[in-house]
């Protein structure tokens, strides 16, 4: 290993090591190694700061950047569980799943999986919190996932029951137990008005959001999270829409996807063709079908 690579790895280990509860760099690392002797070996002190203090600037700023990025990505989760629990959750999650990607947008990629085994961080509204992070993660995916070229008239002419229809990579469909689409819109609208956060109107809005969360009751909804002209939208779906889109996404041929969508459906046989026509027309106009 070259000397440069060795230095880069040692500095990265120091910078990415979790902070103490007081948000300072720990004197000893989790493996018992002394941070101070490591920093003394790598970093020059100056007339104002020790080696330890100079590297601590990087260590703290690295974690503060992660915290703020995570908070920007999951404002709805913070609204549901509150600031104190959210801060504890952020530290615990990012310690277990530190950033591994070139992009901070991937910071929350393991959050749902992690929370399923760490429900203590989201109690007592665990199901509501899980639904919230599902929609917030879908929002991130819909915002910057790839867009494929649209299907054209020639492609459509060759489609039959056994064909597969491809959907945009940015499209996500969700089955949720709470109407969190309304709630996240309310929360984002509130955080967007943060420049007025000290005035009475803003305080009233925050109180309304808290009351809304406290009173929120279960209501099964199906949702498409998609992108149009660089903005993310939430579109409520019927149960059959959701089943059909999910089956198409799973690669089922059109005929089988339609059968799956109408299994146990309350929609009468005679209404199914117009239902499908309306659905496909709407999804096509939104640019969801790709080549």
């Amino acid at each position: 290993m070259s000397e440069l690579l060795e230095i880069q790895r040692r500095v990265a280990a120091a910078v990415m090591h979790p902070l103490t509860r007081q948000e300072t760099m720990p004197r000893r690392r989790r493996d018992g190694a002394s941070n101070k002797s490591e920093e003394d070996a790598l970093i020059k002190p100056n007339d104002r700061l020790s080696s330890f203090e100079r590297l601590e600037i990087y260590n703290r700023q690295y974690w503060f950047r992660l915290y703020s990025s995570f908070e920007e990505d999951f404002p709805g989760l913070m609204a549901v569980i509150g600031r104190k629990k959210f801060d504890a959750l952020t530290r615990a999650y990012l310690t277990d799943f530190p950033s591994q990607s070139f992009s901070l947008r991937n910071l929350g990629s393991q959050l749902e999986r992690w929370l399923l085994t760490h429900r203590e961080f989201i109690a007592p509204r665990a199901e509501l919190a899980l639904d919230m992070i599902r929609i917030e993660w879908a929002h991130i995916e819909a915002f910057d996932s790839a867009a494929d070229p649209l299907i054209d008239a020639d492609d459509l002419a060759g489609i039959h029951d056994g064909s597969q229809l491809h959907l945009q990579p940015y499209l996500r469909v969700l089955e949720l137990r709470y109407p969190v689409d309304d709630l996240i819109i309310e929360v984002r609208s509130e955080s967007g008005s943060s420049d007025a956060s000290s005035n009475n109107a803003s305080i009233a809005r925050k109180r309304r959001t808290v009351r809304h969360i406290a009173a929120m009751e279960q209501e099964e909804i199906f949702l498409a999270v998609h992108r149009h002209e660089n903005s993310v939208y939430y579109k409520r779906l019927n149960r059959e829409d959701h089943l059909l889109l999910s089956a198409l996404m799973a690669g089922e041929p059109i005929g089988k996807a339609i059968d799956l969508a109408f299994a146990d459906s309350a929609i009468p046989e005679e209404d199914r063709v117009p239902f499908l026509q309306t659905a496909f027309q709407s999804w096509s106009s939104l640019g969801w079908f790709t080549r």
């Binding site: 000397e3 230095i7 070996a41 790598l42 970093i43 020059k44 100056n46 007339d47 104002r48 700061l49 080696s51 203090e53 100079r54 590297l55 600037i57 990087y58 700023q61």
Partner: protein, 147 residues
Amino acid sequence: MVENVSSYAEYHASEMTEWEFLNEVVERADCGILLDVNNIYVSSQNHNFDPFTYVNAVPAERIAQIHIAGHSRFEKYILDTHDHPVLEPVWQLYARTIERAGPTATLLEWDDNIPSFEEVHAEALKANQFLQAAAKPAVRELAETTR
């Protein structure tokens, strides 16, 4: 383009100054420089060097874009925070940079504690005074005396 960083630590193993390193990289890569004059100022305060030495050392013909920004001063160091107006010493570095490189595309970085659009816009427009000064030889002398 390669942008210079703001820094807070120096390594025992370092064998050259940051501007020497930057110059070596851009010469070997044959690429342009995005010169962040606030970063130069921040590093100069944290590492006790004259920021004009840095600005004067970079190859002017490679400066393709300039960044300006505000920073925060703490008790023992200053931090590149992008949350304040540009401070006077940074404007002076900016003036010297465009004096050497000529009028150059400039970006004001202000991405935290963002004030009204009017305030940010007015701050960005201040750069025009320096760009116009750089284009006029008579004013260039004035810029020289403010250093």
